[in-house]
Symmetry: D2
Subunit: 271 residues, 4 copies
């Protein structure tokens, strides 16, 4: 679809293709490399912009290899910081576009940022505490090894989906992404069975069992809840959260198939 | 037995009866009030000393009502502090005994401690950080309400035992205390099936799943592991730990009955 | 001057008067109540907007009494938080203006914020840690008492200026604001003697003595350094910083009058 | 004196010579190497035991070079930990003595500790938090470099004594150790002028200026206060503390010579 759309743009009016690597509201992982291939196949000069906020440090992202021109990331997901720090990386093509762009800019302007390697003038007080936190987070990631971090998130994600699949088999909540190959490794969006309110489950889970779940956004509000499994998380933390969600489903009178926890355990024990 | 033994002590050679309220190595809760009644029934003047280290703030202890003469407690269990702070409470009878006792004392002497309400001389640097921690812990306990804290530990203990009972039903590990009425609310000692090493399970649980279990002490080493469920703990934390132990049992090739997590959940969901 | 300027605005083209309560770059305290009086005297309907970022919780600000229509504040100064939290307060008049304003708004729109008491839609992840920090900061301010906090800052500010005045008496750095009545209680800007570089002093102070000083902004860069004396600060912390600055002045070869620390001490000891 | 005393001990009844490296209550540094030389010169077989609690990591201690048989240290001084961790190091000679000693031992017994490299049986809950703290402290010391740490303490100690000497020149408090060569680099004991109460100064310093001073012990109580300058301390922290003490002296009506802070600054600025 992307390739077709770009091919139709004979006058090159499309300036950029923007993709969210990990779609937080639906738990979808978007195919960055494939999108890049489609842009290349169409021979289109559009910039390729990728939002990696909820994928960064949870699963693999390759800016250079995938020829991403500009990427944004955040510290509050896989990098385990409190919310408040974000990142932008731009390649030569993106910086060149910034030079010529005519959009009004004041708060953040690449042209000033690159000049003499610093901002041109004073814009506020630097939040130093985030830099200390980031240093600690990067040490943790290096100690575990990035490949191991990715493998851990993959394993935890599969266990989560195995649990939800067992719920679904009994007429209960199900994994939201239909195409399993695109299900995210950093969070799982869970679709409620018809007639049951996701927010009621979320409220019970938090109030009675201390499990905080993400809510469905915009059109999915009340229909979806989201289980985050990114960052500093291990097997018992995930299994405890899934067990707590089951307690909340039970209290809320939501039907669900049994054996979810065993399915998750089986997925975690597999070699 | 205690009453009989005291009754036989016609010459009053027994100076004190000492009881561990919560026997940490076996997960037994000892009946303090009943022991007091036995001492009273025997009309014996022995001091009644109780160690509350692993029961304090996890379940009820009533020094005055149970006429305990001297109690010791620790900060590192139900009071949630790092190890390093302990408490002693003494009534008039115990303090009077301290005046006349002939045992050598230097490091800790009630006679000096009570004089002018302070230690008589310098004995070291006060570990102030424990006092700040204790203040925070007491605030947490007050905020939840001591009765609610006790009820929470009772609920979590029952869920733990329900899980282990399911394991035992399949030839797996079982709750160590035979008499269930005396099983502890702050930890559960779990006896391995014949021919299986508790420490192997402990090592796998910690190394692969991040679940730290207590070991069996002295004669129980290798035969028992212990699940602590005291302090700042809620349902998903406990269920996650139990699920992690199941993974370790599985990896270690230890048989266990299925349905443990469901049994624990059922115990937690009961009104 | 403000009154004259407003009086000349017969066609009411001036929409708002904006004042920085504490001018951080120069260490000036601006007279909010007097500005309000000038607006009132001119009978001008302009909104009155005040930036309290570096005055809030350091010295007195009275939004209602001074009929300020809109105020902004920040957490990183007198409220002692790491940078990242800011506040806005608006009265009925300001909110009414927000309804009719034609400026483009997306990131922050009072109309959405006020609807149902919340933001109309999702704009990001809430930085919860700032709320915990703010709660702690407000407890500290309440415990000391706001009047005492203000008095402490006034005392520390006077001591700082007494020290700098002693430096100036020997041809050294001097307090930047000429009119002492408007010198700030939350920081002191210090003007270097001709031919001496403020940034050199700042670099030595930080590298050798661990004293971090603010730099001069825009046209004052290199000519001014700034001593912050807001937030969680007491007498020895201030005196130590002043003593460290003296060491840096000495190392940098900047002349300064002797007796600065004694003058500061005398100011602090006064009843 | 030590050599003479040992020489008189023809029957070798003296089992050990015990020395406090840094005498915390008086601020004296004791000459360990010289004591060793005296023992050697007397040809006496006594064990040489040294308490390094308040010198360790503040100034140099060389167990092997000075042939110290057993040393004890603590974490709460130069190692910057909260109180609660101590260290013991023993050489072959001390361990051999432990084998044959007849003193009763239960809580700490080298014979058990060395067996299989661990304690023989359970003695309590390990205070893990101290090990994390110690790791951080050692990293800080390595980052600065031990020689630099020692030089910093020497510099800060000299500045402290320069300040107190200025006080003394005006009939005020004076450095307690008469022989300056033995004045400690980790704290300075300060003797009050006749008729003035050290504890009154300490109370004012703490209550009004937030400067916590050590008190005089046993016979020195009320006559001495102690300024700690060990651990994580830099120039402005020390100068601020000295300035705060001057304020307290002034408030308490204690005479003192002027120029103390300038003298301390001069000592710190010297190349």
């Amino acid at each position: 679809m992307l390739g077709e759309r770009l091919a139709r743009d004979a006058r090159r009016e499309i300036k950029a293709v923007m993709l969210v690597h990990n779609e937080t509201s639906t738990g979808m992982r978007h195919p960055v490399a494939e999108a890049r291939a489609a842009i290349d196949a169409a021979g289109h000069p559009a910039l390729f912009l990728v939002d990696t906020i909820s994928s960064l440090a949870s699963y693999d992202f390759r800016m250079d290899e995938w020829k991403v021109d500009l990427a944004v990331g955040g510290g509050q997901k896989g990098l385990m910081l409190p919310p408040g720090m974000s990142f932008t990386a731009a390649n030569e093509k993106a910086l060149a576009a910034a030079q010529g762009a005519r959009s009004p800019r004041r708060y953040f302007d690449w042209r000033n940022m690159m000049k003499e390697g610093r901002q041109a003038s004073f814009v506020g007080t630097a939040p130093m505490h985030f830099f200390y936190g980031l240093e600690a987070a990067l040490c943790m990631l290096e100690e575990e090894g990035l490949e191991n971090v990715f493998a851990r998130h993959r394993r935890l994600a599969r266990a989560t989906r195995a649990c939800v699949d067992a719920w679904a088999a009994g007429g209960g909540p199900q994994v939201f992404p239909l195409e399993r190959a695109y299900a995210s490794d950093s969070l799982t969006a869970v679709l409620m069975p018809q007639g049951h309110d996701a927010d009621r489950v979320r409220n019970i889970a938090e109030a009675r069992y201390g499990v905080a779940l993400g809510r469905g956004l915009t059109t999915l509000q009340g229909r979806v809840f989201r289980i985050g499994h990114m960052g500093d998380l291990n097997e018992p933390m995930l299994l405890g959260a899934l067990a707590g969600i089951e307690l909340a489903l039970r209290d809320a009178g939501v039907p669900f198939g049994r054996g979810g926890l065993e399915a998750a355990q089986a997925a975690l024990a597999a070699p």
